[in-house]
Amino acid sequence: MTFGLSSTSDKSVLKLDPRTKLCLLTAISLIMVGGKTVGAEYILRVICAAIPFILLLTVRHIKSALIYMILLGLSVFCEGSVIPHISGAANLILMIICGILSRFVPGYMMGWYTVRSTSVSEFMTAMDKMHVPYFITIPFSVMFRYFPTLGEEYRSIHDAMKMREIGQSVKNPFTYIEYVLVPIMMSTVRIADELSAASLTKGLCAGGRRTHICQINIRLYDRLLIIGALAMIVLFFVF
């Protein structure tokens, strides 16, 4: 494996096309969120739950893959063998927690994988090849780039508040939200300005048809995965 030069995704063993990832992401969240847990859809759910695990392994996020597996395993185990034995409020609470985990975690992990393993230029190239207009792709790519930054900003603000020993002492939730939200909004404005300056330097505003230096191709396994994802969606709607 070589480092440097190309984009962020070169740690990957299996290099998927962004279109494939989007296809899989749609299939997984459709099936995991809306699906039933009985019959043929159960098999679909198992396949969908396994895909992010395998893909996370291919980008060598072994730790997060394991955490994901444990979380999912626990919630499925709870749903299957703990919940029928208890009743009342505890049942409801556990049910809700497990329901959220088993429904949203696979989609979330798939989304995380997609964001982590796709560089912005790969995403833009893929969208361009799909003929999505630029006024949709640019906000989208900015957004996906910004989500991790948002998390970082939040953590820094949290740390700064801890250092000054505010945070626990703030009892009023609105004050707390103001303390967190205002700095985040400030940095959002700043980041937006910096990004537009950067894009200006890179000639994003120049107009004309843009070319792409990064190469993305739909390879054989991409085709297989896309067909698989589409087949799963079709099966999901048929049953």
Partner: protein
């Protein structure tokens, strides 16, 4: 005020949509507790309205809000909401666009009203509980969450609640917009950022 749509605007759209979506998602997560589901359209706009006001204050051109609403619709669809979310999102986006336009993208009053009209897209997320979608959706919940949960949800969501939710969206959006205006005045106007 220049009319041309720039890349800068698209970046603003992207970044603020991300912020708005993150906050909406965080607040909406408490909607899994059945009773909060009913009040979600009130709670979400209150919190999400604050960054929304900052976003509105940056808007100078027609179309930015519509793009935001399209993006939110796509994200919502990808995360497994039924298709009517598109109609509601884009409808709310266009409505807000008109409201902002009548204020010439400058008046705070129209921003506050815009914040409440924009919140109407939340109904697209919740429509699954009502009208023609109700039976199928609740049935699909039964074996995921259990009969007890579904019974609770059914109890909380008779049809009239839908209309109450419209009112909640509008009121929540107004509160959020006013809060946002206050925050803008307190923190951003002074720093020259809004």
């Amino acid at each position: 005020m220049e009319k041309k749509f720039e890349i800068k605007d698209l970046i603003t759209v992207g970044i603020f949509t991300a912020l708005y979506f993150a906050i909406t998602f965080a607040v909406a997560c408490i909607g899994f507790i059945p009773i909060f589901m009913v009040f979600m359209p009130l709670l979400v706009p209150i919190f999400a309205g604050i960054p929304l006001m900052l976003y509105f204050s940056k808007i100078k051109h027609f179309g930015m809000v519509t793009i935001t609403s399209v993006i939110i619709a796509v994200l919502m669809f990808i995360t497994g909401h039924p298709y009517p979310v598109f109609i509601f999102c884009i409808g709310a986006g266009l409505l807000t666009e008109t409201v902002l336009k009548t204020g010439h993208y400058q008046s705070i009053k129209s921003c506050v009203i815009g914040s409440s009209t924009f919140s109407l897209w939340l109904l697209g997320m919740l429509i699954a509980f009502f009208f023609g979608f109700r039976e199928a959706y609740l049935n699909s919940l039964v074996d995921g969450y259990g009969q007890e949960y579904v019974d609770k949800m059914t109890g909380y969501t008779p049809t009239w609640v839908f209309f109450a939710m419209i009112a909640m969206c509008i009121i929540g959006g107004l509160i959020g917009g006013l809060l946002g205006a206050k925050v803008l005045k307190k923190h951003f106007r002074k720093a020259g950022m809004a």
